[in-house]
Symmetry: C2
C-alpha cells in the first residue's frame, strides 16, 4: 500500500495520495491547487498513473487542484452526487465503491458541514488499516463549521454519530484539515474524546456549533466560485 | 501498532508517539516542550504509560520536552552515547536495541548534522512497516545542515549513504522536520530522488552543503543550552 498524507501549510489542508503500490494507478483526495508541483513530482517519481481526483466537498478555504490535475494527467474528477460543480465528471452515491487498481473506497453521504459533503471509507481488507477520509465533517477532536454552504448542525451530528461513529472502532480518521498538529485519529477516540460530540445530544451539539461565531473564511468569496469550476475559473 | 506523527508548526518538528497498542507502554521521539499538553492529553486518552522519551540529537531550533516528560510521567530520558546532555539518564550505542513493550528500535549512529546524532530503526517484524526515525541527518528530499554543533558534510554523507541507504528499500523514512508538507518517504525514494545525494559523490555533497550559507537558527542560542539540560534550564 502506498499512502501519502501531504500538508498545505497555508490552508492547513491534508491531501491523500493513495495507490496499491509504486507503478500502479492512483487516486488523490482533496488536492490543493498551489501544491500541484508536489503532486506531479510524486506521481512521476513513484511512477503512478493518477486516475481519480476526488473532492469530499466544495471547499471554501482553498482552491482545488481537480481541474489542473485532470488537465495534467487525464484523471477523472469525482465528487458526491449533490455537488453543484458541473465540471466534475463522475458523481458517486451513498454506498458506491470507487475501485482504483485494488484500492477500494466506499462513498458515504455525510452532510452537515455542507449539504453535499461525502466521506470515503477505505477497506483495509486485513492487509492494512481501515480508514475514513472525512473531509471537513469530522475533524480530530473537532468538526467542521455548519454555518454556510447548506451546513446544518443537526445533519452534521447525524452524519458523525450515526454514520461515521458506526464504523469499526479501529478505523483511522483522516480529515481534510488539522490546525493543532494531529495527523490521524481513530473512530474509537473521536467517539470518546471529541469534545463537541462525546456524551452530547444533537441539541447540545447544535448549541455548540451555533455559538462558535466564526468569521467567514478569508478565501471564501474566491474559493467557492473557483471550486465550482474545479479550481480553474473564479 | 499505535503510531502517531505529531507536528509542531512553529519549528516544523515531527514528533512520534509509538506503542504496540492502547493501554501499553509507549515511547516518544523528538518531543517539543510547547506541545506538552498535546502529549499528555494523548497519553491519558490512549491509556499509555510513557517509559522512554528520546531525542535523536541536541536540537538547535526548538526546546525539547524530555525533562518535562520525565517529571510528568516518570519516563526514562534517552539519547545516543555521545550527547553532552548530562541530564539524560540512558545512553545507547550503535546497534543497541530499545525494546518498549514489543516496539523494538535499533540505535544507529548517524553523525553529520551534529557529531552526536543517532537514528532509530523500527523493525516492523512483518506486521507493520519497517521505519527509520532519522532526526535531522536525512530529511525528505533534503538533509540537515552540517555547519555547526560538530556537523560535518563528509560524516553526513557517510551516515546517509552507507548506513541509512543500506536499510531495506521499503523502509519508511520519518524525519524530525519537514518544511514542504511531506510526512513520510522511503529509503527507495531518497536514494533515487534526494537532490543532494542521488548520483552525488561525497565531494559533490560537501560542496552543496558548504554553499548553503544558512543563517543560524533563530532559537539556537537559547535552544542548545536549554536542551543540554533536557529543556528545563537554559
Amino acid at each position: 500500500m502506498l499512502f501519502r498524507q501531504l500538508f498545505d501549510r497555508q490552508s492547513s489542508t491534508y491531501t491523500y495520495l493513495i495507490a496499491s503500490g509504486k507503478g500502479r494507478e492512483a487516486l488523490i483526495i482533496d488536492p490543493v491547487k498551489e501544491q500541484m508541483p508536489v503532486y506531479l513530482g510524486l506521481i512521476e517519481q513513484l511512477d503512478l498513473k493518477l486516475v481519480r481526483a476526488i473532492d469530499t466537498h466544495t471547499h471554501a478555504d482553498h482552491i482545488t487542484a481537480l481541474g489542473d490535475l485532470r488537465d495534467a494527467t487525464g484523471c477523472v474528477t469525482l465528487m458526491g452526487e449533490f455537488t453543484r460543480a458541473e465540471c466534475v465528471s463522475q458523481h458517486v452515491r451513498e454506498g458506491e465503491i470507487v475501485d482504483v487498481d485494488g484500492v477500494r473506497l466506499k462513498a458515504l453521504y455525510t452532510p452537515g458541514h455542507t449539504n453535499e459533503s461525502f466521506s470515503f471509507v477505505r477497506d483495509g481488507r486485513g492487509e492494512c488499516e481501515d480508514a475514513v477520509f472525512t473531509g471537513d465533517v469530522l475533524l480530530i477532536r473537532g468538526s467542521g463549521r455548519t454555518d454556510f454552504q447548506g451546513g446544518d448542525p443537526y445533519a452534521s451530528y447525524d452524519s458523525i454519530v450515526n454514520k461515521l461513529f458506526a464504523l469499526g472502532e479501529e478505523t483511522r480518521v483522516y480529515p481534510a484539515h488539522d490546525y493543532k498538529g494531529f495527523t490521524v485519529s481513530t473512530i474509537w477516540e473521536e467517539r470518546r474524546f471529541n469534545p463537541r460530540l462525546a456524551g452530547k445530544s444533537a441539541e447540545q451539539y447544535a448549541e455548540i456549533m451555533r455559538s462558535l461565531n466564526l468569521p467567514d473564511p478569508k478565501m471564501m468569496d474566491v474559493a467557492v466560485p473557483a471550486n465550482l469550476a474545479c479550481g480553474q475559473r473564479a
